[in-house]
Symmetry: C2
């Protein structure tokens, strides 16, 4: 079960995969990505991830890339790695060209994949929830496109770790709660949920969409609405959602206890439903 890389058609050990220094992903953050996870040897929501990837590619006006090529690359590398619980990272940059802001003529998009073991979410975090800080969202205005412009996410995550907590929550300058550094965010109040609507300021998470579907099926009411920091702090539950995160309760924010201070019934229920859904999907 080796961890593997794919680079423009070839599979190799990750350490051997290298890209030219004038790859525009390296010099301009001119690249998009997706992250797939597998459960018991099967990748989850491949179609949804490829759909979002195509949207990202179109938003940046990349030249067309065959969906079959991308799907085969992802599935082929994943299968060759043979890791049951794998994280498959796929990145596509606009290509390689002498440094110049304008789109290069005739550059060929570079396709890179890594397949690595996904570390299990710590049992402690699942049982006790995590703590987070809020940070002002200084990311660019197109967080709906899944690009590698992730430096503010990196800095916010590190700020959280330095503060002794596990994650940071982006809040707009006006006080609207947006999302985590690599996850969407929900709050529960009176058995109902709220989450930020899809705007250019948040990522349209696959797990978020799957959970909205699940909530419709199990009759849990979800509003996609703006809510502020005080509303979040007063909620009964806060949880973040993502491909690796799945559903994870946030029980302390900026030093204040959320609800009962431990993972609540809504997060537990949704986590269970999501796992059932990932299982059924296989």
């Amino acid at each position: 079960m080796p961890e593997l890389a794919y680079l423009n058609g070839k599979i190799m050990p990750i350490e051997e995969a290298r890209v030219p220094i004038e790859d525009r992903g390296y010099q301009f953050a001119d690249a998009v990505y997706e992250y797939f996870a597998s459960y018991k040897g099967k990748l989850f929501a491949v179609k949804e991830h490829l759909d979002r990837l195509e949207k990202s590619l179109r938003a940046l006006e990349f030249p067309p890339i065959s969906r079959e090529l991308l799907r085969d690359a992802v599935l082929g590398t994943f299968q060759q790695a043979g890791i049951d619980r794998a994280g498959v990272y796929l990145q596509i940059s606009r290509g390689v060209a002498p440094r110049n802001h304008a789109f290069p003529n005739g550059a060929k998009p570079q396709i890179v994949i890594t397949v690595r073991q996904v570390p299990d979410t710590s049992r402690e975090y699942l049982e006790k929830g995590i703590a987070a800080i809020t940070v002002t969202d200084i990311r660019w205005g197109r967080c709906d496109i899944k690009t590698v412009q992730l430096l503010p996410n990196v800095l916010a995550k590190q700020q959280a770790l330095s503060a002794g907590v596990q994650d940071a929550i982006f809040v707009s300058p006006e006080g609207i709660v947006r999302e985590g550094t690599s996850s969407n965010l929900f709050i529960a109040i009176g058995g109902r949920l709220k989450t930020h609507p899809l705007t250019p300021h948040i990522l349209p998470g696959i797990t978020r969409a799957v959970l909205l579907d699940i909530c419709r099926k199990i009759n849990v009411h979800v509003e996609e609405v703006f809510f502020d920091n005080n509303t979040m702090l007063a909620a009964e539950e806060v949880f973040i959602t993502g491909t690796v995160t799945e559903v994870l309760s946030v029980c302390r924010i900026d030093g204040r206890t959320i609800g009962a201070g431990k993972p609540g019934p809504m997060a537990a229920r949704l986590r269970k439903e999501l796992e059932a859904c990932a299982g059924a999907h296989l």
Copy 2:
């Protein structure tokens, strides 16, 4: 006079220089850069660029890197290339590590340099000025740090080219004029200049700083103040400034003619003074 790359201590042809796909510059835009230009075989303002680079490195909490090592790398690669009018691009990423937002433990910053011939600014643009569009600034909130988070700059530049003009000018959502896609911006009104003050929303340009010094010496009054789009459109002159751009008049913005519709006396004077300064610096 070959174009050359430097990669962590070794000099080689640019095409041969490659970085691991898990370089954080590639996956997170977790990298900073500088761009030096030479005049008649001598690099200009090396100290100023290295000073700014150190500020960028500190702002992102990179581990300390010897200034002598960086200066020697820049000068050594430049000298070996032997190009009179060279652009020296220096990029430093946080290092290589399995993908994870948090700062990696013990990762070693990757140092990459390219030395390329600088294309001369088109005679037509010098004689007639350029045209530009304005675009809403959707960049992140720390444009004062010179990072590779340049995708919005790329998209704005391309939008300008698609509109048949040469550059785009970032204007804040409130209408404050900030800077170009790779340059600062000045306007002239009644023999006096205005330029955006140093805030987290613009790059503290080296050429901008040199010009402010020159203006003090030649008694041209400059105000570092906010001004809006209408003020810019009503100015007698608008010009952008940068390491390669030097001083370049913008004579049409969003289809409206600026001043007399051709490069004005202030831009011409400052361009001449800047060239004299670059010459004197040698």
